[in-house]
């Protein structure tokens, strides 16, 4: 490993291509922590946005007019405003209104950290799209199939969990994949509220080492790798869910 790192030092000395993140332990650790922060943001936001999508799509089919209207309002708000504005709204707008609590040293702190605000904000943003994506899947499930479940004594909720949702997910998976890829890329906006994710640490590193072009190329490739992983996992899930006779 050491030889690998030293090669980059040699590369710098020989060509001027300065990738401090390999041969400099401090920069390397910054980049590693930034990478894991991005991964953590992605996993949390993907999870919560899917939960929001599934629950929202269920509520959208509610008998109650006001429940449906609330879901429509939520979608309008989070789909039709820029995600960066949403992050600012939560962190600077809502965050400032919330009371502060004393930490272990008696210093007042915000209830929610910037990382938590980023997770909340990005989950709601992607969740709004997921509601619509799941709805499109649900509407494509034949009514007769749902009726068969009803005739077997399934309640609306049980039919949703065991019949409608599993079929809807298979139908809307390609659209869901797109949204998740978008979400992974959108996590870079957390930079704006100083969440130390990959873009943020990259900026720190190039400020110190003045190696902007190298870091830009590296960052681009890092996202190609990250999104590539996500796409690979989603393709695996798609194959795993594939069932003969369902048009996918």
């Amino acid at each position: 490993m050491e030889a690998f790192y030293e090669w980059f030092r040699w590369l710098y000395e020989a060509t001027g291509i300065n990738l401090t993140i390999f041969y400099d332990a401090f920069d390397r650790n910054r980049m590693i922590s930034g990478f894991w922060m991005t991964v953590r943001l992605c996993l949390l936001c993907i999870f919560f946005s899917i939960v929001i999508g599934v629950v929202g799509a269920w509520l959208q089919g509610s008998q109650l007019k006001w429940t449906r209207r609330a879901v429509h309002g939520f979608i309008a708000l989070f789909r039709d405003t820029p995600p960066l504005v949403q992050i600012y709204f939560f962190y600077f707008g809502l965050g400032a209104l919330l009371p502060r609590v004393d930490n272990a040293f008696g210093i007042p702190e915000p209830i929610l950290t910037n990382v938590q605000w980023a997770v909340i904000s990005l989950s709601l943003f992607a969740g709004a799209f997921n509601v619509e994506i799941f709805r499109s899947g649900i509407e494509a499930v034949p009514k007769a199939t749902v009726e068969a479940a009803e005739a077997l004594g399934y309640s609306r909720l049980r039919a949703y969990i065991h019949v409608v949702l599993p079929l809807a997910v298979r139908i809307c998976l390609p659209a869901l994949n797109n949204n998740i890829v978008n979400l992974v890329k959108t996590t870079t906006l957390a930079y704006a509220i100083a969440v130390p994710e990959m873009l943020y640490v990259t900026k720190q590193i190039w400020s110190d080492a003045t190696n902007v072009p190298e870091m830009m190329v590296f960052l681009l490739l890092a996202y190609v790798f990250l999104v590539g992983c996500v796409v690979w996992v989603m393709a695996r899930i798609e194959r795993w869910l594939k069932v003969p006779g369902i048009g996918l």
């Binding site: 034949p142 007769a144 199939t145 009726e147 068969a148 479940a149 009803e150 005739a151 077997l152 004594g153 399934y154 309640s155 049980r158 065991h162 019949v163 599993p166 079929l167 298979r170 069932v243 003969p244 006779g245 369902i246």
Partner: protein, 247 residues
């Protein structure tokens, strides 16, 4: 059937409308335990709607439907309790396409009746064997023929141990060759004493299997009788015209 027997199913003056169209205009009939009843009639005469009213898939406007003493036309109806007693098989099978044949049969007893998985699985194997689908347990609906799918649907319904089975034109979507395999299954059920109501266009089958034939047209029961007399002695001109066209 003995006249004194309390019928398993009793319809009295059932009315149903979809918007401006009155589909059922006062339908009344009884079905005794173990009886096989066939409902025939032209398209749009309300045959399927009768079945869908019996298991409360659609609400009725007025009248009474008693299933084993339970009133279906009651806002406080326990639909689950009703649907445990009434099984239904559809024209388009309506299997759950993401589950194997065996899982299709097992799902409702586990999810709805909360029965023990192991016992349910044993019963599901037996039911698939009964409908002659041994070896197809792990097949998905998309891998089965129409006739095979329909027999899975019958097994799925039987898994709930219903007292009454409703068959809604279950052979109408099948190839002529596969119709027979489904009819054989239904005949066996009838012979075992299962109470059945069939909406069907298979006149030969209705004649052979039915204890009683009902002819519906434009939302009313025009005429009815045991098959022996019904098919030869039907008097109403509408019945005659229908039978002449189809036989």
């Amino acid at each position: 059937m003995p006249e004194s027997a309390v019928p398993l199913l009793r319809l009295r003056d059932v009315h149903k409308r979809f918007g401006a169209v009155e589909v059922l205009k006062g339908v009344s009939f009884d079905v005794a335990m173990g009886e096989v009843v066939c409902i025939i009639g032209p398209s749009g005469s309300g045959k399927s709607t009768i079945l869908r009213c019996i298991n409360a898939l659609v609400p009725i406007e007025s009248g009474s439907i008693l299933v084993d003493g339970q009133e279906v036309n009651d806002p406080a109806l326990d639909k689950l309790a009703l649907r445990r007693k009434v099984g239904m098989v559809f024209q388009q099978y309506n299997l759950f396409p993401h589950k194997t044949a065996l899982q299709n049969v097992m799902m409702a007893p586990i999810h709805v009746l909360k029965q023990d998985r192991k016992a349910v699985e044993e019963r599901a194997w037996a039911l698939l064997k009964k409908v002659r689908l041994e070896g197809k347990e792990a097949s998905y609906p998309g891998e089965l023929s129409g006739g095979q799918q329909q027999r899975v649907a019958i097994a799925r319904s039987l898994a709930m141990n219903p007292e009454l089975m409703l068959f809604d034109e279950v052979t109408a979507a099948l190839d002529p060759e596969t119709v027979k395999e489904v009819l054989v299954t239904i005949r066996e059920l009838a012979e075992e004493g299962m109470t059945c109501i069939l909406v069907t266009h298979e006149m030969g089958f209705a004649r052979e299997i039915g204890d009683h034939i009902y002819f519906t047209d434009r939302g009313v029961i025009v005429e009815h009788g045991p098959p022996k007399t019904f098919f030869v002695e039907a008097k109403d001109p509408r019945t005659r015209q229908f039978l002449d066209q189809i036989l």
